[in-house]
Symmetry: C2
Subunit: 338 residues, 2 copies
């Protein structure tokens, strides 16, 4: 299996991208194509001491950044690393794609170059949220700021296929983010989506409120991309704020500093549980081939995890599973109109 | 000044409602009318040992609960405590109203009995979020699951008036919840609201992302009620999950238990900072008279804080301030159509 790594995007690129790729080749047995500026990547690769032939480099002179308007950049920067990488994926020169570049660029390349699975109205960004009971999949984490009920239905179906086949869940619990637990709660879109999800080939457990998300009350958390983006970033921000406050508490005086030493072990365990880098990146669900969007601040471990995630995605045949489930839905009264 | 207290709603009613009222009479110099079942309230009041004449009781035989469909319950349960209380407020038998009852009932009574300020399209629920830098006002916290840009504009104006005049802020920073910091981000509604807020008589500081909310990057956080409800409940849930995990860490072994003792002081301070009961309840912004919705699980201190909040709301003349600011907006190109 060959994974294409867009090695130029991300806060610390291309160091972690190259190092994570070397580790992936050694531990996962995959081949890697690094896409980006040839000379820079070759130099980084040499620095790691890797001399095998499982990693190749594809030259790409340009980069799409957060300052670019994605769709425009896609047309103008034909030689940007994410554009080259997405075209390779489309043309079968690799089985999956990992990028830690600008989200807009990755989304646009996925949508416009790699393309949607037939029947999928809107692909979604699906990051993994660390909850108290383990990882949960958030669909949509920010790709679609406005959604119809049909989109939410498909997010549930696609998320369920991924959770069951890649995250190793059995009969993943799919829940709809809402402002109350009762069936009639919410707005027109969530009420219609509720009705559709009840009839979908997923284990739909009903509405989930904000307060239950972190408790691990669901495995696949369905919402529009606006709400999902707020959930994702609020969680990150609140966790950071709380951890910073706890650190300040431990630095207060001599006694609390002693405690800091005593608590080091349990705290590391907890931080590991809540560490997003353990879970790789966010999937683009609904594309013809697997695309993983890693966090911009990914370190080598996060890049490695994202590559492992792409590998599992391919091995498990998630794209085929999604197609099958969508076809099942077509047979019910809520047909899929793309 | 006389505050009407709906004493029958809430998880532990009417104990905390009566006790909080007694404290308010003693410390704030307000008069209180307790609304609810006469005999039960009189018994509770006697138990507190209060013998003054600043607290009176108005009998109301019924209660609206979370199981009721609010608008229907309002018509059918004419003798419910929140209905009686709202009618008293409307008729000038009190200056403000505090209820810890079912949110739907309080909202419906506020909207349909107390009534909107002329020009306000949609009143909003405005809870106080404890952030790292102090309290921030979240508007809308859950009253309107669907919003237009005009609603968001008015939420900003009303929230600003309250923050400056009651929360003691100078030139409160008003920010719009969005999925990116840049002006063009978001959906049609947030983009239009952004344009309107730029021209509003408030200190609009632009978009705010989920990750910056808990940092205290804004004083008035504007969003639709769906997103606001998710923010509110996710914050509550995440804080509870993290605190529970920290407790578990401290109970791990003898050394960590010793640390728990050492950290008790700093932790209490931190919990106080993050304690919603410090800040009273959620306002209903945009009504003709002040209505405060306290948390269902309010203790006596939270009820006391909510009464103090109602007192400040009345003294500061926030309703008049909101009217003035809305009139200023009418003179600009974004007139208020109710």
């Amino acid at each position: 299996m060959r994974i294409i790594v867009d090695a130029m995007g991300g806060d610390y690129a291309p160091g972690p991208q190259v190092e994570g790729s070397v580790r992936a080749v050694q531990e996962l047995g995959v081949e890697i194509v690094l896409v980006g500026k040839q000379d820079i990547l070759q130099k980084k690769l040499d620095e790691t001491g890797y001399t095998g032939n499982q990693i190749t480099i594809r030259d790409a002179a340009d980069i799409i950044t957060n300052d670019d308007e994605p769709a425009k950049a896609l047309r103008r920067k034909k030689d940007a690393s994410i554009v080259v990488a997405a075209n390779m994926l489309k043309n079968g020169e690799g089985d999956g794609l990992v990028s830690t570049g600008a989200t807009g660029g990755v989304l646009a390349a996925g949508l416009l170059i790699v393309g949607r699975i037939e029947g999928v109205a809107r692909p979604a960004l699906a990051p993994v949220l660390p909850t108290d009971k383990g990882p949960a999949l958030l669909v949509d984490g920010g790709a679609n700021a406005d959604c119809k009920a049909l989109n939410l239905l498909q997010f549930g179906i696609m998320g369920s296929a991924y959770a069951n086949n890649v995250l190793g869940m059995k009969n993943a619990r799919v829940a709809l983010v809402n402002i109350g637990a009762e069936e009639h709660k919410g707005n027109d879109v969530t009420r219609a989506a509720y009705e559709m999800l009840k009839k979908a080939p997923v284990n739909f457990t009903g509405n989930i409120e904000g307060r239950d998300i972190m408790d691990g009350a669901a495995d696949v958390i369905v919402c529009d991309g606006f709400v999902g983006n707020v959930i994702l970033k609020l969680t990150e921000g609140l966790a950071a704020t709380l951890l910073r406050n706890i650190k300040t508490m431990f630095m207060k005086n001599f006694a609390t500093k002693l405690c800091a030493l005593g608590m080091k072990g349990p705290f590391s365990e907890f931080k590991k549980k809540m560490d997003y880098t353990e879970y790789g990146g966010a999937l683009l669900l609904g594309l013809k081939h697997p695309v993983i969007k890693g966090h911009g601040s990914s370190d080598a471990k996060a890049v490695f995890s994202a590559i492992r995630q792409a590998q599992k995605f391919v091995s498990a045949g998630v794209v085929e599973k999604i197609k099958e489930d969508l076809e099942k839905m077509e047979e019910t009264q809520y047909g899929i109109e793309s």
